[in-house]
Symmetry: C2
Subunit: 247 residues, 2 copies
């Protein structure tokens, strides 16, 4: 049982999210202060990291893997309200209880800080506060972008939107040229996609099959996706295909 392993403090300078996380703007002194209060935790795919309503005694950054924020109604309907990718921040300084479930969608490693020391440090370190503001504004933009998807797009457009986001993220991560096929593995089950898109898993499955039939995407197995023409996929998503290429 190695679910919640505490890992050795490793060097922030070598951290894969050093330049994008909440610590991105910290100088050497500030990193030292952070290193003193940080610790790592690992979670297995499917594990709940934080339960909605629970006391939050830490905040932190996703180092690797994908986590999700989910809301649930009493009758069981659920809606994913955020996807947390590496470098994304979890938790809210100045609030005690968690407003959403946080779940590990894949295996996840987090860089955690106990909340109180982090809040104190933030009060003394404008670099952290400012970066957190910037990241929060970005998340707000992403949430609003997603409101358009949820409120106004058809099932097919919703699927295309999700695939195009994942495809473009992977394309920019692997530094490929801006044309040519994009290949990636879906990090989400059909059910998780449905929860993100406000659909049922059956509809997700049908629309993926339809996009495959129309050769907008190719599938090998159930998770391995090839996008021969990202512009075509973005048209299907109802987006301008000439928009900014890197998200």
């Amino acid at each position: 049982m190695t679910l919640n392993t505490l890992v050795d403090h490793s060097n922030c300078e070598d951290c894969p999210i050093r330049h994008r996380a909440v610590c991105a703007r910290c100088d050497a002194d500030e990193l030292v202060a952070l290193e003193e209060i940080k610790y790592y935790r690992s979670f297995e795919a499917g594990q709940t990291i934080i339960w909605s309503g629970d006391q939050m005694n830490f905040v932190g950054s996703v180092v690797s893997g994908i986590a999700s924020l989910t809301q649930t109604m009493e009758d069981g309907r659920t809606q994913m309200v955020g996807l947390l990718l590496p470098s994304d921040f979890v938790g809210r300084p100045g609030r005690d209880s968690a407003p959403y479930d946080v779940q590990a969608t894949t295996d996840v490693v987090m860089c955690c800080f106990r909340k109180k020391p982090f809040e104190d440090l933030m009060g003394r370190t404008p670099h952290i506060a400012h970066r957190l503001l910037q990241m929060t504004l970005d998340e707000l933009d992403a949430a609003r972008e997603w409101m358009l998807v949820l409120g106004r797009k058809t099932a097919r457009e919703k699927i295309a939107s999700l695939l195009s986001i994942i495809a473009r993220r992977d394309a920019s991560a692997s530094q490929k040229g801006s044309s040519g096929p994009i290949v990636f593995d879906l990090p989400l089950t059909r059910e998780a996609m449905a929860d993100y898109l406000g659909l049922t898993l059956e509809t997700v499955s049908r629309q993926i099959s339809a996009l495959k039939k129309d050769e907008v995407i190719l599938l090998q197995g159930k998770r391995h996706v090839t996008v021969p023409d990202i512009g075509r996929l973005m048209e299907e998503a109802g987006d301008d295909s000439d928009g900014g290429f890197l998200v």
Copy 2:
């Protein structure tokens, strides 16, 4: 033509949003600095305050009235992604072009700051930066709350959700006891409600009629609403009726 009137600088101490806006935590000195760069602008109902893609040369707070943030797809489908009430902040420090249309839903008065001086001041004034972070986190929570409404609720629940939010806000504003009927005027047209809820205006109209027929709400005219039992309305919204009463 008095659309964009510059109004006399009035005293921040007397401002109706003094304790809730981005300046809420400022002390006297900081208020003086803000007063030096602030100016008022008025907008008529229906007027567009900022066009998506435009250069933003100011940021500011809604002093009175209601404004909306709206996204539009190429084919004309629109989704409202935020409602701006008095004290809400408009604009994003550190970004030049506006990501959404901002429209005056009712007549609106804004307290504006030219962007550059405001950014400079924010860099020197942690009270402002910290308050803005707090407000942004609140907006992010509200946006995510709304994602559940858009993604998972039925038309009837969506209408009930919107009415319950407006009703509770009005009840808390008028400091009424926590029981008894709530009366208010809808600040939105049926079309604006539809854009907010991801519905058509016909569906909005039908569901309002249905809630009226079932006596969840009473209507006088088209805009004047009485909610005899807020708990009942919240049940219809699919929310826990025992949740925190003040939003």
